[in-house]
């Protein structure tokens, strides 16, 4: 077929972010034990409460078993063969961006995330994380004027220990699951956000995660606290170089929203996915959860998941506060031999709580794409409502899509609505669009964006355009 040849040409389009930065790093030796954890904590000059937190988590982790219920196919991870701390060597204390190693700045420049004063993005404050450490955070002074704290979590441990002690592990306890326990024991860096009472954060906040070394895991930890009547929109982007080994990325993200506060958390995940034969790529095993603690609080997750060899995560909302709102908008795209098992948990605890789930799974190549979600109505969730819509799109005839919606209701006076559909991009549809003058690649992306529109509408503007382009790029050559 004519198109198949065309497809092969385009599929060679390499992963744009696959380069490695040649930089001297400080790595500790491979392996995991109490001494390693003490060493990480010591390197980060942490207070005792945090070391205790880590050690307790490690004890729990040792007693836990790696879960296998998702039936994802991957070779067993050797946790003693991972480096748990890797940081680019830099001067001891950096007082301004000018002192950051130019190689690092150049790396983020190449990724489209300029950090320097002259070039930095204008409406977004960025926290750039390279392997285990945060390199730089822009717009700190401007944000501080509004009382907003935006810094690496290591810095927050030093400067805002009270907040860390109060909130860390309250949304995702160390014992929550195997990977959360591991993260709690060894987490290296990540972002910390605090929005004080009554403040609408004046600009979007964003973290950019870059894995550079091939043999170290990345275990970042993000904590966002929105005080009463405050609001924030937070974006997260991720890329990694191409290695033929798998790298474990086990992050934990915790969000807390108090009365009338709202947090919007958007992710565009484009970790290296491995090659066409499924060699290499990131294992993205992440626990993300938000707690709507306050009345009328709102947490909204939107995610565009296109990378990683395996994506395994369920950004969730605990709806405690009366009339609190949880949202989950997701596009998960898998190609070649990628696997994704993603979805959300909406736990309705308080009365009159509301949740919306819109999930779009696109599977191409030989990939596997599953939506797995839980909607639970607790005994006190009177008058609560959920609406879920899970759609799958298949491209080609080798890909698979599954939907596993779990529904548990202990409250008769609540409503749960679930809709699901599956469709396939067919050669006939593509031919039809082509006979109307629309080019092959454009036809595919037109159909995919049409399919994802409900989710893209939820993304911050710059992100939506980016996501559209990213999907088009990822799909190039996947239809024949």
């Amino acid at each position: 077929m004519v198109n198949k040849n065309l497809v092969k040409d385009v599929v060679k389009e390499p992963y744009k972010y696959g380069f490695v930065t040649d930089i001297e790093t400080e790595k500790i030796k491979k392996g995991l034990n109490e001494d390693i954890i003490k060493l990480i904590s010591q390197k980060k000059e942490e207070p005792k409460f945090l070391l205790d937190f880590r050690l307790k988590a490690f004890k729990k982790w040792q007693k836990m078993k790696e879960p296998d219920w998702a039936a994802l196919g991957y070779k067993k991870i050797d946790y003693q063969d991972i480096i748990y701390y890797s940081a680019p060597k830099q001067k001891e204390k950096i007082s301004s961006l000018d002192e950051v190693d130019p190689k690092l700045l150049e790396t983020f420049d190449k990724l489209g995330i300029p950090l320097t004063e002259q070039k930095k993005l204008t409406n977004v404050a960025v926290d750039a994380v390279f392997d285990s450490v945060s390199i730089a955070t822009t717009f700190r002074e401007e944000l501080a004027e509004h009382g907003v704290i935006f810094c690496s979590i290591s810095e927050a441990v030093k400067n805002h220990a009270d907040l860390i002690e109060k909130y860390l592990g309250t949304v995702v306890p160390a014992s929550d699951n195997y990977f959360a326990a591991l993260n709690s024991a060894v987490f290296s860096d990540g972002s910390f956000v605090y929005i004080p009472k009554g403040v609408a954060c004046p600009m979007d906040l964003s973290s950019y995660f870059r894995i550079n070394s091939g043999d170290s895991g990345q275990f970042e930890r993000t904590l966002i606290i929105a005080e009463e009547s405050s609001s924030v929109s937070y974006l997260e982007g991720c890329t990694a170089p191409m290695f033929d080994t798998n790298t474990l990325h086990a992050a934990v993200v915790e969000l807390v929203a108090l009365d009338d506060a709202s947090i919007k958390y958007s992710t565009v995940q484009n970790w290296y996915a491995g090659d066409e034969e499924g060699i290499g790529g990131i294992f993205n095993f992440v626990t993300k959860r938000g707690k709507c603690l306050g009345k009328r609080s709102k947490i909204s997750w939107s995610q565009v998941e296109t990378g990683s060899a395996i994506t395994w995560k369920y950004p969730s909302c605990l709806l405690l506060g009366e009339e609190s709102v949880g949202e989950f908008y997701s596009v998960a795209l898998t190609n070649n031999l990628q696997q994704a098992d993603t979805g959300t948990k909406m736990i309705h605890i308080g009365p009159k709580t509301k949740s919306t789930i819109v999930s779009k799974g696109i599977s191409a190549g030989n990939s596997k794409n599953s939506y797995r979600g839980l909607v639970k109505m607790g005994t006190k969730a009177t008058g609560s409502r959920n609406y879920s819509q899970c759609d799958s799109m298949l491209i080609g005839d080798q890909a698979s899509a599954n939907t596993f919606p779990y529904i548990k209701s202990q409250q008769p006076n609540s409503e749960i609505e679930h809709e699901a559909s599956t469709c396939r991009i067919s050669e006939d549809q593509l031919f039809y669009l082509q006979t109307r003058g629309i080019e092959f690649e454009e036809a595919v992306s037109m159909m995919v964006s049409g399919f994802c529109r409900d989710v893209f509408n939820q993304l911050p503007m710059e992100f939506a355009a980016e996501a559209d382009k990213l999907l088009a790029l990822k799909l190039e050559g996947s239809v024949g």
């Binding site: 077929m1 031919f431 039809y432 006979t435 454009e442």
Partner: protein
Amino acid sequence: MKESDPILEVENLSASTDNLPILKGVSLTVYPGEIHAIMGRNGCGKSTLSKIIAGHPSYNITNGDIKFLGENINSLEPEERSQSGIFLGFQYPIEIPGVSNLEFLRVSTNARRKFLNKEELDTFDFEELVKEKLEIVKMDHAFLSRSVNQGFSGGEKKRNEILQMALLEPKIAILDETDSGLDIDALRIVASGIKKISNAQTGIILITHYQRLLDEIKPNYVHVMSDGQIIKTGESDLALELEKKGYEWTDNFIKET
């Protein structure tokens, strides 16, 4: 003697899919202003011929040429053929969920306009243009905000095809069983639409089983296809004769040759 150059020349065209020969030496020439009808049993290759002219990737041309305005288009992509003025009206128009009909029509129209070095239309200007064209097929504006062909009735889908033809203003339109599945009223609307759009510069190929469309749009030539070949060509009365005698009559014709 023809005064102008042909729009479409199909010369001794043979084609196959999965090594199975479907067309076995088809020749057909269409001049500006001409209407050709192609008739024949199901499976005789008439739909395949239309798809191959439009550039369907599932068929391989094993012999012969397709020329459009004098240029060989054998290796052009379907979108290039469309942009240069070849239109295929589908027998079963395809549903494209999630893609708005209006946006689809606009992108499509602009692709053709770009080829013609005409200014591309923004949403506002396009709305104006499409409003005018909707009249031709008596379609309601509400169809524009729906997904392409999704949930359309058979007749609505066919009218949407003619709307596309009206917007694209092709040099040649191949209409594959546009009349099938239409009631009398819808058939009249579609037929009058086709007549309004076509002019002395355009060529039309009507693929049909029935005389009733040809009552509305009188063809200059009627071709009968059988087993991948055009076995008989005549004027419009050939269709009438065929209607009377049935395709069995053409079976005899094959034996004669």
